[in-house]
């Protein structure tokens, strides 16, 4: 990989800023997802106890959703990083 030049430095800063924005947005989504669930537990217990079908309370469905959505968020990030971020970094070396 070739050494730093002012032009490469500027491009790296753009890539870094974009990576930081994506990381912050996804972390924010994760925080909203989990603490939204916790807030419902803390402040609206009756809603979570409501049954959607015999045995399936909203609470249990949302709990499972938090786990599945967390994993989906990691998938979204990995997809973005493998395509956009890695390609941007590769272009920096040329």
């Amino acid at each position: 990989m070739s050494g730093p030049t002012p032009e490469r430095d500027a491009r790296l800063r753009t890539i870094a800023a974009r990576r930081w924005k994506v990381a912050l947005a996804l972390t924010g989504a994760m925080i909203a997802l989990y603490f939204g669930f916790i807030a419902l537990i803390a402040f609206d217990k009756p809603l979570l106890g409501r049954l959607l079908a015999p045995g399936l309370s909203i609470g249990i469905v949302l709990g499972a959703c938090v786990i599945v959505c967390s994993w989906l968020l990691t998938w979204v990030y990995v997809r973005w990083a493998n395509t956009r971020y890695d390609a941007d970094l590769r272009s920096l070396g040329q």
Binding site: A23, L26, I38, P46, G49, G55, I67, V68, W71, N82
Partner: protein, 518 residues
């Protein structure tokens, strides 16, 4: 439709030949791996980072192995079996830290450090003060986590195998020292992989056996639980009476995962940042699947064994999963699950010991005492001495805390990791204005305030010391200590701003994205 709850007829506590057989098989296999690994452990890079040759899939399994402790397998299954939905809050809480590890920490950590997370902070600030402060946070986290695991191991083995508490602790200590001392990170990684595979397989078999009785439909299982114990078991209940306790514990779990030294250290075992990224994706999937299975295991134990029968065997409910295994698969399956639980503890303590040894030898001895002038042979020797010392300390702590209620120490370890290690790591990687003074103040205050507040909390004052009230209202201090630690790091850095340390950030930026540390 379903059989009535069983009376507490169980062989738990009697010597179980199958459990012994599986357990000694696990010890034999892992010692064999250690012998193989010992011949490949000649350099510090091999000892601390497995020569950076672990593949993303292998590291994903090993991360899951390092993370899924006996507390999550036995504790959560027990909590769900005895309280229903309240227990599930923990199942979700233990997973949500992983995306944060991926988005903020894994890749820059891999690109900037060598063996410990302190490497990252020290790469742009003054070595000596930063490493001293980081070692404080690391060792506090490791020590508390080790105490909880060792005491859990002793009680568990006594309960399941009928061995003496002290004998059990010494066996655990000896095996873990052997893995780390001779096989370093290579052996530790493979012990984690074997353990994670066993735990996931055991949990999956149990899940299928439970669901088979309910037409493979989880909703039918939950409905059976509600029919017998009321719709209340499907909704939040007593355990979450205080909202801010729940939020505070949630914060400790979410941000603590990204500050656990033994988890962070695993990212140095893969070849590059992209491999670190992929390994978290695998780990999150495996751990998520495991916690989804705890839904079924917990409610399965509630319906098939019954909360009263479970509490009769052990008041904390920790025997729910083993009792369920015995009910569904007889003594032989109980033996298998017991051996899996033991393997689980053994693997976690090995990972903890290795990360503690790295803080003692790499951070404190090599970079502070010897100021980076130790040769390779000396570094390896010190790492091994530190391993033996920590192993013996863990055994002594385990025996000292016999019979004490130490379950809160896991939550405390997460709170320190979240308040001391995580803010410093994030600020060092992403904030240009961070300074040595800010980093040290943040890490020291994070560790000290967490310890002081947990001492003043209901967890210690009421639950452990049996005092009538506590000065500090929250059971877990993370809600206060995480923001405090960020604030101290930022304010001290702004007050004592240093131009040359901001320049260090500029140099770091390139390496953070492109790598090159080794």
């Amino acid at each position: 439709m379903t059989p009535p709850p069983q009376a507490a007829t169980t062989s738990i506590g009697e010597p179980n030949g199958v459990a012994m057989g599986f357990f000694f098989l696990f010890i034999a296999v892992t010692l064999g791996i250690t012998y193989w690994a010992a011949r490949r452990t000649r350099t510090t890079e091999q000892f601390y980072a497995a020569g950076r040759t672990i593949s993303p899939a292998q590291n994903g399994l090993a991360l899951a192995g390092d993370y899924m402790s006996a507390a999550s397998f036995l504790g959560i299954a027990g909590l769900v079996a005895t309280t229903g939905f309240d227990g599930l809050i923990y199942s979700t809480g233990w997973l949500v830290g992983w995306p944060v590890v991926l988005f903020l920490v894994a890749e820059p950590l891999r690109n900037l450090g060598k063996y410990t997370f302190a490497d990252v902070i020290a790469s742009r600030l003054s070595q000596t003060p930063v490493r001293l402060a980081a070692a404080l946070g690391t060792l506090a986290t490791v020590a508390l986590y080790l105490i909880a695991q060792m005491v859990g191991a002793g009680s568990l083995i006594r309960l399941m195998f009928g061995l003496h508490y002290e004998t059990a602790i010494v066996i655990v200590g000896a095996a873990m020292i052997a893995y780390v001392l001779f096989g370093g990170m290579i052996a530790t990684t493979w012990v984690q992989i074997v353990k994670a595979s066993l735990l996931l397989t055991g949990a999956a078999i149990l899940t299928v056996l439970v669901l088979a009785r309910f037409g493979m439909n989880p909703a039918a299982l939950f409905a059976a639980a509600a029919q017998r114990y009321g719709d209340g078991v499907l909704a939040p209940g007593r355990l979450v009476a205080k909202p801010f306790d729940t939020i505070s514990l949630g914060m400790a779990l979410m941000f603590g995962t990204a500050g656990l030294p033994h988890i962070l250290m695993r990212f140095y075992t893969v070849p590059d940042a992209k491999a670190a990224r992929t390994s978290v994706f695998y780990a999150t999937g495996l751990i998520g699947a495991f916690y989804l299975m705890t839904f079924v295991l917990g409610f399965g134990a509630m319906v098939l064994v019954g909360p009263d029968a479970i509490r009769q065997v052990e008041p904390g409910g920790n025997m729910a999963a083993p009792l369920l295994a015995e009910f569904l698969g007889g003594r032989a399956f109980l033996g298998f699950i017991a051996a899996v639980a033991f393997a689980t503890i053994l693997a976690v303590v090995a990972g903890l010991t290795l990360s503690g040894a790295a803080a003692l030898s790499h951070d404190l001895w090599v970079n502070v005492v010897r100021r980076g002038r130790a040769d390779a042979a000396e570094q390896l020797k010190v790492a091994r001495v530190a391993t033996v010392g920590l192993g013996i300390l863990a055994v002594l702590l385990g025996i000292t805390f016999k019979g004490q209620n130490v379950a809160f120490m896991v939550g405390l370890a997460f709170a320190i990791a979240a308040s001391a290690n995580f803010p410093a790591l994030v600020l060092a990687m992403f904030w240009r204005g961070y300074t040595t003074a800010g980093a040290v103040a943040s890490m020291v205050c994070g560790t000290v305030t967490t310890l002081v507040l947990i001492w003043l909390s209901p967890t210690v004052q009421i639950d452990v010391l049996k005092h009538p009230s506590a000065w500090f209202p929250l059971k877990n201090p993370a809600l206060v200590t995480i923001p405090l630690s960020f604030a101290i790091g930022i304010v001290v850095s702004l007050v004592a701003a240093r131009a040359h340390e901001a320049e260090g950030y500029g140099r770091m930026e390139r390496q953070k994205h492109l790598g090159g540390a080794g």
